[in-house]
Every structure is written in structure tokens, then in C-alpha cells.
Amino acid sequence: MRIVPGVLAEIRRHLAAAYPTEGCGLLLGTRGPNGDVVVRRQLPVPNRRAADGGGRTRYLIGPEDFLTAEREARQASLVVVGTYHSHPDVPARPSAYDTEHAWPWCCYLIASVAGGEVQEERVWELRDDRSGFVERELEVKES
């Protein structure tokens, strides 16, 4: 997955500010015929679990937020290619909960955040048979 440096910087700022709650958002971009994904915009979305106290270890992007994102993407001739969220004080790999609730053909960028600073980002994609995630390479590059 390729991401524009400015977009990644915005994501980092958002997730660092959300700490110790999980921050989340959607990634808009393009997906080529051979599966190459390029992220061109990020769309921060309110974590619908922050209000009920579950936001320290859970995030939820509501359907209306997803619809808004699809609309915005369509206007910019982009599609929703993935989501991003943070794991406060936990490594940037998918949890069992992530696997259970994941969507296919959707890149999951997970950032581990410790003490309010983003430590690392990793990108995962759900296997077609839902048996788990495979890691994808993250390339930071101006397109």
C-alpha cells in the first residue's frame, strides 16, 4: 500500500491527539487492477465507542460515517480503500476482535501509540476466507 507522506503525517497527528483513546478514520484512494492500493486522502471519523467508555480498546466507525466517506470519495473520483486506527500501548498488529469484524478488500492501517506518540504503522488485509490478516508493505511516497 502506498501512502502520500502528507496524508500519513495527518493520520499520525490525529492518532497521537486521540491517545489514550483509539482514534480511527477511513482511507480514500485508488485500487489498481492488480490490487495496488494508493491512499490519497484520510478522513478522520469520530470513534463511536469513545462515548460509552470502550474507546480505550475499541473503535467503531458507524454506517452513516461510512456513507459520508463513500460520497466524498465518489466526488473526488476515489474509493474507500481502507481504514486506520490506533492501538494505544499495544503493538500494531490485528487483534482477534479486529479479525472477527474485518471487511475484505480493505487495508487496515494500525498504528501503535505509546505515551501519545505514534511508534509504528503496519498495514494488514483480511484474507478472503476470513481466516486472518496478511501484512502488506507500507510504502510512503509522493505519487
Binding site: 483509539e22 480511527c24 477511513l26 463511536r48 465507542r49 470502550g54 480505550r56 480498546t57 475499541r58 473503535y59 467503531l60 466507525i61 458507524g62 454506517p63 460515517d65 461510512f66 456513507l67 463513500e70 470519495a73 474509493v79 474507500v80 480503500v81 481504514t83 486506527h85 492501538h87 494505544p88 500501548d89 499495544v90 503493538p91 498488529r93 490485528p94 487483534s95 482477534a96 476482535y97 479486529d98 479479525t99 469484524h101 474485518a102 471487511w103 475484505p104 478488500w105 480493505c106 487496515y108 505515551g115 494488514w124 484474507r127 478472503d128 476466507d129 476470513r130 481466516s131 486472518g132 490478516f133 496478511v134 501484512e135
Partner: protein
Amino acid sequence: MPVTVHIPTPLRPYVGGRDTVATSAGTVGEILERLAADHAQLRAHLYRDDGRLRTFVNVYLNDRDIRDLAREGTRAADGDEVSIVPSIAGGAVAVATALPELTHAEILRYSRHLILPEVGPGGQRRIKAARVLLVGAGGLGSPAALYLAAAGVGTIGLVDCDTVDATNLQRQILHGTGVVGRPKLESAEARLQDLNPHVHVETFPVRLTSANALEILRDFDIVVDGTDNFPTRYLVNDACVLLGKPNVYGSIFRFEGHASVFHAVAGACYRCLYSEPPPPGLVPSCAEGGVLGVLPGIIGSIQALEALKLILGAGDTLVGRLVLFDARKFRFRELTLHKDPDCPVCGPNPSLHELIDYEAFCGVGATPAYEGPEITATDLARDLRENPDLELLDVREMREWEICRIPGARLIPLGQLPERLSELDGHKEIVTHCHKGIRSMRALEILQAAGFSKVRSLRGGIEAWATEVDPSVPRY
């Protein structure tokens, strides 16, 4: 004009990349079923194994959520639009990338797990993917490691820097007579690999400290605390809280055992229960107070059980509960634990953001041990021959006195010494002794403070006497 079904981006690859699919009128349930029948791969993403729609699949008729209408019985007429809209959920909490497959040998070995509905093949693969770290390969770590290895936990980490001592064998069932004097991790690894060659054992032959704890714990999903001292217990707790890991806790003393799961993101941590350690010396260790050998077998097995439940996500774990077991009365009691809003490490306004000096926090080594005059066992043997007036004062407990004693010694247990000073003759030379030389130094301090001047402590205690002077005295 047919019904238009809007497909969200993540599902478009399954319908030939299209964003809409046209279909004929019917209930929403029928329309989705038709869609899944036409595009087989869609089914797993829309429906759960039990045939119900996944929680995070939202369906709208025009712009209304079907949950507010007649759910899947909602009718879509020609010209209507049905939209499948994902909500996206997830979040932290250990375990699982792609789950590993089971080999034929593993399927055979774990068959009793595989036929258990709560485990099954999926659960067993989770167990195989799991990484559990055991801090301590002693009384609690032994049964915990054996059961976790037998259960097929894919990676078992062990932290311990001790060697096997003959006194360990009464309860530390990972180790055998043939390995006395060898490093515990060496015998533990051999035993676990013999029990189950499918598990990977990672050994850390070091003392867990503030300098290495985060680095070691970071790569594991679950930590099992089998430590026997307060500084390490607080260290394990704080490191687990900082890393967001569950800490499966156990402790034992004589006939009593405690167990809990401290997982700060879900419940109380060890500091919520005990904000401060007891004063040094108040709570005796197993080496000082003794422990019934089978007790760590019970508590360590409870820890293995809880670790497996955490891996499987099955049942109610001991998060937020402390179990107290009294072996003499055979009674389990349960206390509800509440998160302390002022907890310095897991509260909403934590003051601890990194690991600290736990020995200083627990008062261990903060004040240097009292240093008074000592005498070696060989010199004591000579002095006893030459000076019949020499008073040998044994400050151990009565039980220890019954195991062995030095001829001519007088017993006054340390706890009684301050009240029984009048029994001692201040003009005589006095040598205090205990098991290994620690308590006798405390006794020396008491005697000197009371004005006794001709006092010394037997260096290495009766242990040194047994090895250097009189081998007929048993060691314990």
C-alpha cells in the same frame, strides 16, 4: 424498474467490481440471499456461520435502516434502493494474525480439545498462535508451563535465572533429581520439549528488571506471574499495564493461595488491590514460612486455566475477581476487585508512565542490611571447644529447631527475643545463629541496641555449620 442494490467498496470485487447490482423485488432477506447465491464468496462476509447477518453489516432501504423497519422482512419494491453499508469495528487486545494450521500429528494429539465445543479446531489454532510468558519456572511456573505446553500453546517464554536446588523438588515438578545444580531453564526447556515437541520454548535466563521487562514482555500476548517476591510482582504488574497485557496472577503461602487476572483495560490491576507493598520482612517468603508442595500445583493450574480462557475468549475469566483458596478448610472464597480511580499506573490520571526502581519501592535494599561482627562456622567450632561459657543463641523457629540444632545451643525465636532479653547473661560472649545468617544479624542488632557488647553472628547460619563443621547435621 428493478430493485438496485448498492455494494460498498470492500465487497465490489465479489460482484465483478460493480457498485450496484440490479435484482427483482422481494424482502430484503430474499434479495441478500439471492445476492449471496449468485456470488458465493460474498456469503462469508455478509453472514455468520449460523446464517445470521453479521453485526457490522447494515442494510438500508432507500435511506432507512431496516432495523427500524421490518428488518430482513422489509419489502423492497421495484424502483427501491437497497444499500449494504459497513460499519467498521476493531481494536486492540492481544492474539491472532493469520491463525496457523494444525498438522495431522497435532490434530491427533489435541483431539480431546477439538471435540470440545468451546475449543474446537478454531480454538486450538488460537492456542497454537498464542504466545504466553511465564515469569518464574518454580512452584507456580512448573504446573502452569506443563499444562500450557501440553495444551499446545505455540510459544512459551520462560524467565528465570536460578539453578535447581534439592529443596525445590518438593513442589517444582518441572525439575527432577538428576538436574540439581543445573539452570532451571535448561531442565524446564528439556521437560517441555519432551512433553510436547510442537511447542516452541523461548528462554530468558535473566532476572526480570526495569531495564529488560518491557522488551521481554512486549512480544507476548499473556503474562503468567509466578514470582515469589514483591519487587518483581509490582514490576510485572506495571509492565503489563503499560503494555496493555493481561497478567495472570498467583501467589502461595503455607496452605493458602491467591489467583486473579489483572488486565487493566478491563478491570483492576495488582496496584488497585495493593497500592503499596508491605514493609520488608512482614510477609515471609516460602523459603522462610514454608509451603505445602501440592498448593502451587493447584494455584499454578488455575493460572494455566485462566491463560487458556483468555486465549480462547471463552467463559468468565478472573478479571475483576480475586480467588482465595484455603487448603486446610478446603474453601474457595471470591472477592470482587474494583479499579482504583486513584491507581497510579492504571487510573485515569496515572502518575507512573514508566518502570521504576522496584527494590527501592518495596524497601528492599533501600537501607543496607545491618552489618555486625560475624564468626565463621570453623572458628565457632574452635571457640566452643575453648570457651565453655560461650552462649550459642539459636533465633530460628521451633519447627526448624526440631529439624536440627547445634549441640549446646539455646532457642529463642527472633520474634520473642525483645521480651526475653533478661534470660541472657550480658557478661558472657554470645553468638547468634539462624538458618542462613540473615535473622541472626537482626538478632545481633537487637542485642547490641540493648547494650550487649560481646556478640557475634554465625556467618551462613546452621547451613554453614552443616557443610563446614558437622555433616551429621541435616541441611534443609
